[in-house]
Symmetry: C3
Subunit: 164 residues, 3 copies
Amino acid sequence: MSDVEQRLAALERRVEELEDERAVARLVASYGPLVDSGSAEAVAGLWRQDGSYDVDELLMTGHEEIAAMVRSANHRRWIDSGCAHLVGPPHVTVTGNEAVAVCHSLMVIHTGGRFRIRRATANHWRLRKDTGGWRITTRTNRVLDGRPESSELLAAGIGHGDTP
Amino acid sequence: MSDVEQRLAALERRVEELEDERAVARLVASYGPLVDSGSAEAVAGLWRQDGSYDVDELLMTGHEEIAAMVRSANHRRWIDSGCAHLVGPPHVTVTGNEAVAVCHSLMVIHTGGRFRIRRATANHWRLRKDTGGWRITTRTNRVLDGRPESSELLAAGIGHGDTP
Amino acid sequence: MSDVEQRLAALERRVEELEDERAVARLVASYGPLVDSGSAEAVAGLWRQDGSYDVDELLMTGHEEIAAMVRSANHRRWIDSGCAHLVGPPHVTVTGNEAVAVCHSLMVIHTGGRFRIRRATANHWRLRKDTGGWRITTRTNRVLDGRPESSELLAAGIGHGDTP
């Protein structure tokens, strides 16, 4: 293999790695705007068809259950009174066609003419790449109210603890 | 065209795409630190000379009006009592020399010895690249207090709704 | 030098620049999840062995002092009652083997069954790259309560003010 060939192959690998991390971060960054605009199909489409979204006591599996949450009367009420799901910058680890991302999120609500934080949450995302690009396989959210599993989830997402 | 030529050209395109998204995200990330430090010229310089910043009822057009907002007595009071404009990670879409970015922002103020969220806002940025690099053409911010235009702005920024 | 050689060398430089910024942003994004999970050694390991962390009145120097802060009874109490250190997207400037990053952070705590912002902070990071990768040399945090040094720190991080 020539020197030029080796350098091209190395560059192609490095650029693909950057593109993979960028694609995962971009997907994570789309969640908040989509969910706060009630874009139910688009939110669900961030997951694989068999993907799951596990939020404390509520487990949603598959596109229909995720879209139903976005369309629910409860969720509509948050949007109609004012709501911001601010998702922090994720720490992304790509390994081949799989990725783990971890970040915090804040659910900020508008209530009584003021804004306040309703929930601060640990977010752990598992994603997979196939021909359709990156999609979420499982996303696990736990409220940061002192329960040990929330901080364990943060450690696991960085690779310093058991995986969920 | 040789195989080497093709691979070089493909890499150059992919790297430019990554650089463009990085440049837009970096510009967005500079807004908060610049506005919270009262760096009026530097804030204005993020926009094109004829760029506009449309925040709910206030429309600023051109560098002078934007810099005047940063220098205003009102804005100085926020800085002097303590203020953080936290701008979330943007979702960036580059198309040639144009880009759209969308994100949430929180304006956190220090008042009565405590911090609270004064505003949670939908941010929609349009940017253009020319020989001077990326600059904002229009930035539209709407408070997330339940008004429909705010959540429409979020959807439009991801490409799931009418453009503003 | 041939045209192919020049284009390869240019691409290698550009990709390394993107990788450097990515590495710095990724390190910054790991701080919150690590500190909120009490991962004391991993938090300390983000710094160089002789690195320092200067937070308002507390100056920590070296891995042991930083790890001791994470292990302290005070910090454990924050985790055990619920705590989110949300670190915003950093603006990163790489110059050779040195980098400066600047961002806001929010310390959100769970208290009395509610979440509130305990501190909004200006963050200024200096980092250095050696054979072990990027590590923090000094991180300076100042609460955004109106003290002039906090907003000066934000301006300095973007390159619009005196360096700390």
